[in-house]
Amino acid sequence: MTATPDDGAPNAAATDLAQSPFLSRFRPRGPVWLATPALFVLLLVLAYPLGIVLWRSFSDPAIGIDNYVWFFQSAVNRAVLQRTFVVAAWVTLACLICAYPYAYAMTIVGRNMRLALILCVLVPFWLSGVVRTLAWVILLQDSGVINSMLRGIGLPPVKLIRTLPGVVIGMTQVLLPFMILPIYSVMKGIDTRLLPAARSLGAQPWKAFLQIYVPLSLPGVYAGAIIVFILSLGFYITPALLGGPRSILLSSLVQNQVLSLLNWGRGGAMGVVLLVATFLLLAIAAPLMRQKHTASRREV
């Protein structure tokens, strides 16, 4: 058989065909049940634990919404929540500014240069986050690289570690690959012949770039931005090591409630807030990430 039956002439029927036994009958099937083991693992170590968190947030110590009332009534908590979103927004913006030109450069340079640029992204992408945060600790600490350089040229030291800017800088660097890779993967699919085409129609180079190229690259931008934003919201290690009491983020607060105060209810409630915020964002942003301009893409 041919995967698209020539006989499936009507288009409406073609979609039916894709779901009919026709296509699966004679193939070594991969029926849906092959996903059962994976679903089972997810049920066991993802759904069930999250269910427990949810349950405790409404039941520990007493049944009700006390934990949520507590969370939203406390000015400190609200400030942390707000700070978490603000930091995530700054990190996303900083990543975008760094990533967009970089990803674009990756698509226009020669082969060897591209390999070098890819290497610069992949090494931090694959390298353990703890190690990279360790590097930032060494750089930013009071006796760190930056401050000893400042001292060397006779300037007063700057407080970097345990400050919000320090957290933002570190998180930006750690999360940058997550922005570059999706943007690059969309950009390399954009037909570069479109730009000369637009110019031949009379568009100025920058106009052509802004009006033709940028819109085509948006799905990658959206994807990268949402990934970085979501990862930032739940980021734990980097803010915990680089931040201080005045730059604490939601994740550290959750950890603190559960591990130090053994308050599962309140920690759970915060976790649920974080979780709901994440999924709301995803639900809103998911349609943006879909590649709409498939017609203008080409295989690379």
Binding site: A38, V41, L127, L134, S143, Q173, P205
Partner: protein, 261 residues
């Protein structure tokens, strides 16, 4: 684009490349520090922190723990994730999409939320500080990576080849063994690598479910950073940096060679 903007773009990219790579390089000089301090600049030169890494039981056991857990996870998650990838890509479009969305949720659930949930469950089931506990949690976290890698190669796999094999007399399992698997193997292997690294680097869940008897390497690094200024951690960082870079360079070279043939 005019050449002026090319120059600006080039300079900017150079800065970004430096931002990506350079900060991490700072661990290298620190790892040869003569003093027991992470303060900059390092003083003197010494191999003692590398020696310490290879001799101190804290470091060697946590390293071997991480290795064992990550190897098991690589095998288990690759098998489970590959099966799931088949399920997803051969299901009807809507079911497949739903299933895929479900299976990649571990990637977007905030680590700490997941960690406290798993911690709660493990406290009840006595899985805290056990290899089983680590393997379960890390397998769950690694499944999405395997799924994505294998699915990508299934997408470019021409399923009509299976039809052809069947017409030539191959039964379903033979088709899988002789045609499907060899052709999606690169995807499966990269899925396994992803799974290994996911587990090997995982820290948030590990911080919660760790015990004095079972620590993984990231946990050991983390507690070393927070507890003392021991340059051993910089030596470990340097080793991990070198290992990661070598794997990636090897991967890129391999990919280049495949491209050429």
């Amino acid at each position: 684009m005019p050449s002026f903007s090319r120059i600006v773009l080039g300079l900017f990219c150079l800065l970004v490349a430096i931002l990506l790579l350079a900060p991490t390089l700072v661990v290298i000089p620190m790892s040869f520090n003569g003093n027991k301090s992470l303060a900059f600049p390092p003083v003197g030169f010494s191999w003692q922190w590398y020696a310490n890494f290879f001799s101190s039981p804290d470091w060697t056991t946590s390293f071997s723990n991480s290795l064992i857990v990550a190897l098991i996870v690589a095998v288990v998650a690759t098998v489970i994730g590959t099966l799931a990838a088949f399920g997803v890509s051969r299901a009807a479009a809507r079911t497949g999409g739903l299933l895929r969305a479900l299976l990649i949720t571990p990637m977007v659930v905030p680590g700490v939320v997941l960690a406290i949930g798993i911690y709660a469950v493990y406290l009840d089931t006595h899985l805290v500080g056990t290899v089983t506990g680590f393997v379960l949690a890390h397998t769950m976290l690694a499944i999405p990576f395997v799924l994505i890698a294998v699915q990508a190669s299934l997408e470019v796999f021409d399923r009509r080849l299976e039809t052809a094999a069947s017409s030539l007399g191959a039964g379903r399992l033979t088709v899988f063994r002789t045609v499907t698997l060899p052709l999606i193997l690169p995807g499966v292997l990269s899925g396994a690598l992803f799974a290994f690294i996911t587990s090997f680097d995982e820290i948030i869940v590990a911080l919660f479910i760790t015990s004095p008897y079972l620590k993984t390497l990231p946990v050991q690094i983390y507690s070393s950073i927070t507890r003392d200024a021991d340059p051993t951690v910089a030596a470990v960082g340097t080793l991990l940096f070198l290992a990661t870079s070598l794997i990636i360079i090897a991967g890129l070279l391999l990919g280049m060679r495949r491209e050429r043939t």
